[in-house]
Symmetry: C2
Subunit: 513 residues, 2 copies
């Protein structure tokens, strides 16, 4: 696809980049054992339970086109209720690719998803932000651009995603165009596309055609879209229309039951997993009805609900257990899967945020999630994205990345030789092995302060919020735009201008998690 | 051991207790798969490397009695350097019991350590605290009593430990007596004993004889002591003297190399584990020289060092990996093992604290630690214990406990029946299965706020520190002392009074981690 002008442009950008040294970590290739609480028999039991739900209870598709598709595909359709023979589901999901290569504007930033390969994607969908002055307020398109710039610069963040915050200064009906352009313009990493309607999804695909070429995207995934389910067991027209657009164009959707455990699922871990699994399978199967062989991702948004307040909770033990189990099911079906990282319900970026985020990250890494969404910024149950938390989470992703790469053995003998050299009572700081290895040996988080209290006070007694905000400001100062090819940039802007004259302005809210 | 007066006393206390309902969770019986990054061959390689270190490099024992013991036991002793034939180490550690029953003052609070059984023990050794007004200051004996009271009341905390904070208002040379008495008096859970010298350890044992009976403790472990190693490969006289007292009396010591990864170990994960393993084995073996069959615990304190500042770090990826690996080694030798929970370097109880603590807890639970020390309150690299963090950490332990218990399958069919009942688009909140199960289905942390921002503001916009402090104050208001048998109480106080007249007053500091 890239022509020679673009290749030249890229080479120039690459030399620019050397100045500030923005390096994205490649796809994480996990090399630690996963936490798998189910044995083979329990996996079979879970599979059987989910397929029985699909056969006997069925799923509602609130969408006449989907119902027609399911009739043609051989499912039993009564009103909006679709019941699926287990053979039909198994047959359909078989053609979902086991892994996906996501192509980025900079081909060096293309990624593998599936199997042992995982990527970190920032949070999206926040109607508020806490900004660089730690104020909670409505976001603008400029705020969104800042998050896309940070995503571009943070090494463990693999995607600029889409509406990290909602650009409230733009009409809801035009917003998807500006969001997509911002993702494309401010970062050359892979990104996500809006699925807020079938029409909006079409606009995303049209813009991807401009950026990557029509023929290219038909055979190369370049954008992911999220499809939320209305648990229990319902998919709605908005989501299904968007799914059809993405799948028809060979772009992967995340088939994500939206779980508020205890409210829209049974009040128990294993039965909840059975329901989520049934829901995910029904949407995954539908992607293959639309286009056999199209990539698709097993997904979910997973909260448990406080039975005292009705509020969604994060980082709870049951969410960890469900992540472990759902990962096993996705691997059982050999489908890449998405989970959510660094979730939390705190209103401020305090200790609660830290506990919730870290518990979630450990569980998600050890459950083997491939598409690790909401990996930076999420706070207040997704109601705001925090600038400070965004960069701190991203550093935690670097740390999670390092842990998930597993143990190095290549310098074991050298290390043992150092032990012999140093001997009892010695120290290693001046030893040659230490000098040669310390840079990569032990991760040193820049945004955490581990100094003495005296040194910390001398440095201004800063807490994590202050250090995070300083880190974010510094990154934004150093930001250098990975320039779009000028012709493509103009074509994108022309497309947006044209669409903004044809789409009626609407100000209503539409949120997605 | 308990006589009829004491039995009556206990019954009375139990009926008292019903009023406030203090319930300790029993020993955690883990039922999740552990994270084991080494295969059999790598475990053998690690074992071989550690035994080679012990054979070829050896360990220094800065203690003439220990050197004499090692000569008698057949080790090669040159100066203070002891080298061990691998057969000798293997033979000695064979007699360490695979599991330990720790007997508490209230027999219902006795615990199992080893195999799948784990317990949570609060932090100890802090020279400062942040108090109920969130002020950092020197601790007193009253502050220590408050931490012992909280330990008594918090359900997932299994021990009142010992000097959670240093009672600075008492002379260092008398302090161990007051600390031990406070542990015994304010809680009827198991506890730890001071190992700050051999003589101090003897006092602890004498006081345990008063509380439990001399014959009883010779066959029943009632107190644990920590023995820190001076990595690399040194054990000092203070620690070895205390080890001898505990082991001779059949009380378990934690044999804990004190690791500042990169400073006193090689700058690499696997070689560091080889060194730690060698160090732990040498002390474990020595416990069996003192008393064959005495219980002992494989331990370590594990930090990595920032090569920029020299500061110890917590919650880093390499610490998680080392925990996973060391757990495998301890299980390889069939010895119960201790790790450290909820560590962190933050000066305040902020997001950094939360991330570090939660990352550590997940790693420690999934590495299968049995004696999970420093489970509440640790902040500022152990320089202060935080009242707010103490209760929040303890609630996190409840959550970790729940996760580590694994998945319930006993209501799977009922849950599936609920899915059938509710059907697509319904909700579960009013369903009978939900009503019957919600209490135990999904953990609801009391100290986290998951409400809407409006509700949170109406409730006073409290962060985790404020909620933690309110939680701690409420617990202390509700505290009811589990009264000591009056005769034993008097005997303990007499012993302390007698010792305080014979031990010269010394004000110097001596810290232990």
């Amino acid at each position: 696809m890239p022509n020679s002008t673009e290749r030249l442009g890229r080479a120039a950008r690459r030399s620019d980049r050397l100045k500030v040294k923005i390096e994205m970590l490649p796809t994480l290739r996990r090399n630690i054992p996963l936490t798998e609480p189910m044995n083979e028999e329990q996996i079979e039991k879970m599979d059987d339970a989910s397929l029985s739900i699909l056969e006997e209870v069925g799923v509602e598709f609130h969408d006449p086109i989907a119902l027609e598709h399911w009739k043609e595909a051989g499912a039993s359709v009564e009103g909006e209720r679709v019941r699926f023979d287990r053979g039909l589901i198994r047959e359909l999901i078989k053609s979902i690719p086991e892994s996906i290569t996501m192509h980025a504007r900079d081909p060096e930033k293309s990624l593998e998803i599936g199997g042992n390969n995982s990527i970190f994607v920032p949070m999206t969908g926040a109607p508020f932000l806490t900004d660089l002055e730690n104020k909670r307020r409505m976001p603008t398109l400029d705020d969104l651009a800042n998050f896309h710039k940070l995503s571009h610069m943070l090494p463990a963040i693999h995607s600029s995603a889409h509406h990290i915050v909602e650009p409230m200064d733009h009409a809801i009906s035009h917003r998807h165009l500006r969001i997509t352009y911002s993702s494309m313009k401010h970062s050359d990493k892979t990104f996500m596309g809006m699925t807020s309607s079938g029409k909006n999804a079409e606009d995303v695909i049209e813009m991807c055609k401009i950026l990557f070429g029509e023929k290219f995207i038909d055979t190369h995934p370049v954008v992911t879209g999220n499809i939320n389910g209305n648990s229990p067991l319902v998919w709605d027209q908005t989501m299904l229309s968007a799914l059809r657009v993405f799948s028809a164009h060979n772009q992967p959707v995340l088939c994500s039951p939206f779980v508020l455990g205890g409210a829209n699922t049974p009040a128990s871990v294993a039965p909840t997993v059975a329901q989520v699994n049934a829901e995910a399978l029904s949407a995954l199967a539908y992607t293959q009805v639309i286009r056999k062989g199209a990539p698709a991702i097993y997904g979910h948004y997973l909260a448990t609900v406080s039975m005292q307040s009705g509020a969604p909770m994060a980082g709870t033990p049951e969410i960890s257990l469900m992540n472990f189990m759902i990962g096993q099911m996705a691997r059982h079906y050999k489908v890449p899967w998405r989970s959510s990282n660094t979730l939390g319900g705190s209103k401020v970026f305090d200790a609660q945020s830290g506990y919730e985020s870290a518990s979630t990250m450990m569980a998600v890494l050890l459950s083997g999630a491939n598409y690790i969404w909401h990996s930076a910024g999420w706070n207040e149950a997704g109601m705001h994205c925090s600038m400070a938390k965004f960069v701190v989470d991203a550093e935690q992703c670097e740390m999670g990345y390092r842990m998930a790469e597993g143990v190095r053995w290549d310098d074991f003998e050298e290390g043992l030789a150092a032990i012999r050299d140093v001997g009892p009572g010695g120290h290693y700081l001046g030893h040659q092995h230490t000098m040669e290895n310390f840079q990569r040996a032990f991760f040193m988080p820049k945004l955490f302060d581990n100094n003495s209290v005296e040194q910390w006070q001398a440095d201004g007694s800063k807490d994590t919020i202050q250090r995070g905000l300083e880190g974010a400001k510094k990154l934004l100062e150093d930001y250098q735009e990975p320039k779009l090819d000028q012709a493509k940039d103009e074509e994108l802007l022309d497309y947006i201008a044209k669409r903004e004259t044809t789409i009626p302005k609407m100000e209503a809210l539409n949120q997605e998690h």
